[in-house]
Symmetry: D2
């Protein structure tokens, strides 16, 4: 109810602030008998880690996960799995310039409106650093899903107005922007580098495809599979939109165009002419590939003058310090993948 | 967990099939002391009712709500409010043509994949008729919100490629398509009529604005206000996308363009140059108007030949019988409003 | 959260007041494919019905259940099952004597303290009539459990100081007090009749045994099987205590006496010398018979002068009108059984 | 759903095994602005700590709590509070004698039946060491309750057949058995010491009184305040029974005896002749003192030969090694207090 818990069966509760002691999560409801090591989790944290790509300095031994409970002799026990990452850089930086200022596009004001005060160090709980704990939990979910042959492929579909043209899943981890498209990858990367040089930022769209999902997952009415995916994606910071299958484009078509005839059924999976439904019919998976997209706005933190407002109501120009991602999209790819895994593992376990 | 419950504090559970005995809901968690009559609910059901507009026959005494519990001497008691609408037309129609056929864009196959069998009469639980119970519960939520001065304005933003140009909330209930725009209303209406004549259908976008929402509503991380709205909207049948504020357009802008400076604060509500955030910052309301859009695909049920598949795997052409909405958007407007009310009343009560 | 919902998987939400329009429930989460008719439910409602025993007038056609949804062609569909019983006797009785009076041992004052006002007609939501909806839901749970061979035997263990001496499950429904003991049944019955004649009331203990429960049901820590049973039993009105296995007597023994050696294992069910654990070890079923007891106080409503307090703080003698059960225990037996079924079906489905 | 989460508003999830890396909890839903330090928690952990009393060796610097998140500048932020205690003694003891043996009165068999394998080191998750995390969370709850003047007094009511005669709350922490009664404290203590010398164990009853609880807390039907307390108490290991107010004794009385007239009302709190209700009417607090009792069996772990069964079904005598509490009751007192605080803080926050 307080917003830090996700799922009911594979229940994940996360904690931690950007510059607090540690971040982590508890998974309550992971089945027993799953092989799990810290390395299984670390591999995904490394993909989300700041400073990983060729266009930025590599920092070493960051965000090292520790499993505190729930694993015995290399296997999950069915009891809660607690995981933690201690923050290394807790040096008492000077935050006096930001302490009494509400910045646009940040949670400064809204957290204070809700809670009365806020941890202003590096964004506190509202920092993107929070997604680290989603990736932790998602890594465990992916272990379960991959045992069932379910594959989750998330990738950069567009950076600003550069859109991917083809789609090769194997290429995703081979380029710094994590696009699926060899043809446009360099342009995307260059656009980000140029934006950074210009003290500017860009956004983009992440698409996610899930293959081999069995039919019959999801629920009617409020917990439709697409509805839960929408919540999961829109819960990631910096997102502004979600669409599945034909998405917003569908509103421009006639029914006769959008009409997506069934072409067959293989291994209990429906096949369609165009998969406009995106793999979900009436909230429940049809066995067709799941396809959905999430919109990420350009990073708000740019090194240009912006106008905020002080606690006592005075407009105030300010200039952000520090190093910020000129584009959050490449590092958000593993987060999208993790949240997708969390939604799907829930449905897989409910159906078990 | 089974998908028919929404919210935790103002907890709504719905039931009922299109051609079963009755549809209804229980609200468990409505505060005591709210004035409530059947008329308060009926007024909204009438807006959702089929056959209401000038372009269709008016049928009378439809969908009459009965309150079974939770109200005493005209006021809610704090105990569960059960409401029910009995189905009038339960005549044993012949469904033999559809019984063993899985249609595209319907839940026929997915319900069977999940549950093993299905109530095939009129779509059963997967019918759009289910939204009736959302409107019931939303009507009660709106009583609570309106006492706090919170206004929810939902309206047709576009029908196919005709987009509203101006926005007058007072005009919404004065035109059959429920657009906010006098200039385009006739064109929208005509497009729907023409589509119907052509045995075709169209979709569109519903926009919703919420005024006077206090700052500080919503939760961090997973239950961000925009994430919960996304789930609520995407849980309505026929939706394919959701966006808030600048939405998918944001991905095409530079950070410097998307940069939305604060211009002031009035009564604890932040004001922005462009309200690109759509009224939510870091998942919590800022006091600016909430603005979001939902994409509705063109109605799947058109009187043209389509290709489905039988239970035993044979492709089969079929032609739908019966009368169907050529465009679901105008009748979905009160559903969007109701779901918005359910999301917001939850946050208002959590914050109380 | 508002207290009218039980379970998470087999989620039951109930509604209704003693003298309102109707009482009923929704089960959200019942598996599909269970054969279910109104008769399956009615049979249990009849056991709970007032005026059923030889010592009271038989009233006819009372508490007739109607299934509103979730069943198609005689089988559950997996979607919500709504059931309702309309109140017959809603004649506007005169409640002016009770309207402003808080009676001892009733919820008059506490409901007002919580909700600001109350439905004072016949106890409103706090009436024992509410248990009718537990029996409805329990009837469906029992269908599922009996398919798995699980037997729930609840019976009167004692009435005041008369305690059952032997235990024959087949005898339970053959005597008006629903005891398992032929030897003491008449004495128990006579004691109740005498109490009634004396305008007095008595209480007693209901014991419940569950046979053929598989091992491994229940959860560690907070949702231990015995903890959930304790909540379920103590949620029934008029209960004052719960104990499992050796219960309160265990506190009087040395460890060496209480020591309950294992004597064997049959079909995966542990066997013990004395079953002091009552079938639960560390919160999880061991396969031994589940045995627990619930204490019911003597009915508060007796035709003798009692002292209450008025809304404006004046002590006031009052004399209750109407016909009341001189002992609630016999009619509470099916309620105990129903609540046990609800706890167990949840665990069975979680483990599925 | 997996049993390691308690409450919905003040939601506590715990983790950790007896001999794992660490134990801890997350509180998701603690209000912002509560002053909280590690010392506030440590003080209660020290009361629960093994080896604290005069009859046992004092071990130093044990179970040191660390707060990982949710507190900023000495106050809770409203975001999740994670707390952890690292296990000191993780030396790889030899558990080969217990690894394949199911002991009576332990969760060895039931955990394996549920999960397929188990962490057999010191009881794993089923160890009483788990209660440490309840005390952590309870300490935070008590901060909130004490700000409202609510006092929770838990104490040893009886050890085996020695029952407390008088009740002085101030005496509780002044004697090693934590009884409220000066007259019987020495006898209780001596009985425990003698049992230990005899390689035996004893149990007892813990009573809890809550003063200054406002009326109107709790919910009708399933979440009655006494029902939730019953679950909370019965979820503590080694408990066999729960009763409130007149408890099981009530079943022996006539209604006319049990009749508990109202004698007045002070500050909105009802007063009764005998408080037989135990402070709860129809599931909701009346403002009278809350009084309930929990039965703890004698410790199962005694240094005497017992009979267990091996994984392959052979009965086997075994002798427990190690030091065990001859009576768990004194150390369970702070656990009862903590669980009471968790139940009450939930109701206080729901009512806020």
């Amino acid at each position: 109810m307080a917003g830090n818990t996700f799922n009911e069966v594979f229940k994940v509760t996360t904690f931690g602030e950007s510059h607090g002691v540690a971040l982590g999560c508890i998974i309550d409801g992971c089945p027993a008998g799953i092989e799990l090591s810290e390395e299984d989790v670390q591999i995904h944290l490394n993909r989300r880690r700041p400073g990983q790509s060729e266009v930025a300095t590599e920092r070493d031994e960051k965000d090292k996960v520790q499993i505190l409970s729930g694993v015995f002799e290399g296997k999950t026990t069915g009891t809660p799995i607690a995981m933690v990452v201690y923050n290394k850089d807790q040096k008492s930086k000077d935050y006096s310039n930001i302490k009494d200022l509400y910045r646009p596009a940040h949670g400064d004001y809204t957290y204070e409106a809700k809670y009365g005060h806020r941890d202003y160090r590096g964004g506190g709980r509202a920092s993107g650093r929070e997604t680290l704990t989603r990736v932790m939990a998602g890594a465990v979910a992916m272990k379960i899903l991959s045992e069932k042959g379910i594959e989750i492929h998330a990738y950069t579909k567009s950076i600003k107005d550069i859109e991917a043209k083809d789609c090769d899943f194997n290429y995703i981890e081979e380029n710094s922007v994590r696009t699926c498209c060899k043809e446009t990858a360099n342009d995307m990367e260059q656009l980000i580098i140029d934006s950074k040089a210009d003290n500017n930022s860009v956004g983009g769209v992440i698409e996610c495809q899930v293959l081999n999902l069995p039919p019959g997952l999801g629920s009617p009415v409020f917990d439709k599979l697409d509805a839960r995916l929408a919540q999961a994606m829109m819960s990631i910071g910096s997102t502004k939109g979600f669409e599945i299958g034909s998405g917003f484009d569908s509103t421009k078509m006639f029914g006769s165009e959008h009409n997506d005839n069934i072409t067959g059924m293989t291994d209990g999976r429906l096949e369609f002419e165009k998969n406009y439904s995106g793999g979900v019919l009436a909230g429940i998976s049809s066995g067709s590939p799941l396809v959905f997209r999430t919109a990420f706005k350009p990073t708000s933190s740019i090194k240009r003058e912006q106008v905020g407002i002080t606690r006592d109501g005075q407009l105030q120009e300010f200039l952000l310090e520090g190093r910020h991602d000129p584009c959050i999209v490449p590092r958000a790819v593993p987060v999208v993948q993790a949240m997708t895994a969390l939604v799907l593992v829930e449905e897989v376990l409910r159906a078990a």
